[in-house]
């Protein structure tokens, strides 16, 4: 299969250098070629599962239980100011 690795990389928000694209492109095609054997399995009428157990994932009450930890939670951010995350300018 011919895969446009640069396009897939852009969907993944990963910049690839030309060298990386040249290496990863054929490997990706090789992996996808391998998993294509799935098409030979008869799955007519088989329900897909996303989770190994047939249980509804329970939701807990939407309530704060651990207090205001903004400073601790923002500590690992590359750049913050006045409790806000700072990113490059989005609007010209």
């Amino acid at each position: 299969m011919d895969i446009d690795v640069k396009k897939v990389a852009m969907l993944s928000r990963i910049r690839l250098t030309d060298e990386e694209a040249a290496e990863l492109g054929p490997q990706l095609a090789n992996i996808i070629g391998y998993v294509e054997q799935l098409s030979a399995v008869d799955t007519e009428g088989v329900e897909p599962i996303a989770h190994p157990h047939d249980i509804a994932m329970p939701q807990r009450v939407d309530a704060v239980t651990n207090g205001n930890r903004r400073d601790a939670l923002q500590a690992p951010a590359p750049k913050t100011e006045s409790g806000l995350y700072v990113v490059p300018k989005v609007i010209e």
Binding site: A9, S12, Q37, L38, T43, H51, P52, A77, P78
Partner: protein, 488 residues
């Protein structure tokens, strides 16, 4: 002492023959002496280890011992800990300090364990050899030119060389069992939903599960008992999981009445002849202990690796989208704009294998391919799960080799990702089905350990522990590597 089991150390502590501080010092000395050869630990803070040990001794003196009082346990670099860095062996999380403890870390602390440090792993747990770590490859104490398996290779190597008596790993497609197998120790992956995933850096959320890596079956049960249980903060943690008697299940010394399934799809050409011979001997031993070996079939086994390499990368591509250089993680210098910041930070931060998996997953989930790959793989997942459900109607446990080969040499498979993926051929199916599995030592080929894998129905870890304990009591395959202080 160093090659003692956790249970033996516990007995000595309980008898007052040793203190947690003395025990911690033994392992800290060994880490100082041997970690340079193995690169099993990527972060260690001896002063903090000793502080915990002192606190444990004080707790014992005042209140008595908790379940894991004073016992040293190392954890894979994938578990968030408030103390020290949590980096998942990736440059994108370089110097990341987690603002909270993983649920299992809290459980270990509450049980009185002394956390030794962070162990090496494949970057984001993506690999089978611990060669994709941003901190350099980890090595196998049985032959340092060989890989310790992966992705929990650091935990396996550290336990095998007795740099710690026990460790935690995580298992998405075999990442506890395969390294346990090739390093000659015991590794248990619990039933999916048994152990909370909160605070474990996510790889493939419908497959990931944490578990113990130890020198004995009972040690694995001790740790599993401490870390399992419902956590309301993880929506995939099962609230009414059937309880089992973890330690009681380890008292078995025979296999009378046990029906062991031997799946024909797991005993095929391509398996190392030495591994096959070790398996044949192990199954004969089980028969001698009273078990009945039953030939079974798991017809969709061949499709498991392909289904896994659609589902796991798809989930990974979604999970790893969180590394956006905004809230945490590496940010590139002087980004031109937002897109440049995302794409360049992620290019710089992720290693090649992680990129490969993200790209594979993104492709499988992309418009026009979603049905053919992702939905198809989920349907095959249903069939694989059904294979196991059908098989367990007539048998109690399944026995297979954990890995078709013993530890391979560093660099041997790094050029061909697909060959590396096939290392997990015997471990992947049960992750897809959510079942518990355990690997224990069952022999050596040319000085390298071989692992025996046990599989049970969901929530029946006790059946695995019964079989593995009986096998362990009748055999003597838990050894200490000579170059790391073991006897010849």
């Amino acid at each position: 002492m160093p090659f003692s089991t956790l249970s033996e150390i516990k007995d000595r502590l309980d008898a007052g023959e040793a203190t947690a501080v003395a025990v911690a010092k033994i392992y800290l000395d060994r880490i100082a002496a041997f970690n340079g050869d193995l690169n099993a630990f990527v972060d260690i803070n001896p002063a903090h280890v000793l502080e915990q040990a002192e606190a444990s001794d004080a707790y014992r003196a005042k209140h008595g011992a908790r379940a894991l009082e004073g016992l040293p346990i190392a954890v894979k670099d994938i578990f968030c800990t408030q103390d020290g860095p949590t980096q998942c062996c990736s440059n994108i999380l370089k110097d990341f300090h987690a603002p909270y403890d993983a649920h299992v870390i809290t459980r270990l602390k509450e049980a009185g364990a002394v956390l030794v440090g962070k162990t090496n792993m494949d970057e984001f747990a993506m690999g089978s050899s611990t060669e994709t770590s941003a901190f350099g490859p980890c090595r196998n104490p049985w032959d340092i030119e060989r890989i310790p398996g992966g992705s929990s290779g650091g935990s396996a190597s550290a336990v095998a060389a007795a740099l710690t008596p026990a460790a935690l790993g995580t298992d998405t497609g075999g990442s506890i069992r395969q390294p346990a197998s090739v390093c000659g120790i015991t590794g248990l992956k619990p039933t999916y939903g048994r152990v909370s995933r909160r605070g474990i850096i996510a790889f493939a959320s419908s497959l990931d599960q944490a578990g113990p890596m130890t020198r004995s079956v009972k040690d694995a049960a001790m740790i599993a008992a401490a870390i399992s249980g419902h956590d309301s903060m993880d929506s995939t943690s099962v609230p009414d999981a059937p309880a089992i008697d973890w330690l009681g299940a380890c008292d078995k010394t025979d296999m009378k009445g046990l029906r062991i399934g031997k799946p024909k799809e797991y005993f095929v050409d391509g398996m190392d002849t030495g591994v096959r011979a070790a398996m044949d001997t192990a199954l004969a031993e089980c028969e001698a202990l009273g078990a009945e070996i039953v030939d079974i079939s798991l017809p969709h086994t061949d499709a498991a690796v392909a289904a896994y390499y659609v589902i796991a990368p798809s989930e990974a591509s979604a999970n790893l989208s969180r590394y956006d250089a905004v809230r945490f993680g590496h940010r590139c210098d002087n980004p031109d704009d937002l897109t440049d910041m995302y794409t360049r930070s992620r290019d710089e931060g992720f290693g090649t294998e992680v990129k490969r998996r993200i790209l594979t997953g993104t492709f499988a989930l992309s418009s026009g391919y979603y049905d053919a790959y992702y939905i198809k793989a989920q349907q095959v997942r249903t069939l694989i799960r059904q294979d196991f459900i059908d098989a367990f109607k007539t048998i109690d446990v399944i026995a297979t080799p954990t890995s078709p080969v013993t530890a391979f040499k560093l660099g041997e498979k790094t050029d061909d990702p697909l060959t590396m993926y096939l290392s997990d051929i015997f471990t992947i199916a049960l992750n897809l089905a959510g079942l518990p599995g355990l690997s224990q030592p069952c022999g050596f080929v040319d000085g390298l350990p071989v692992g025996l894998q046990w599989i049970a129905p969901a929530w029946r870890e006790d059946q695995i522990l019964n079989a593995a304990s009986a096998y362990e009591s009748a055999t003597d395959w838990v050894k200490a590597p000579v170059n790391f202080g073991g006897e010849t």
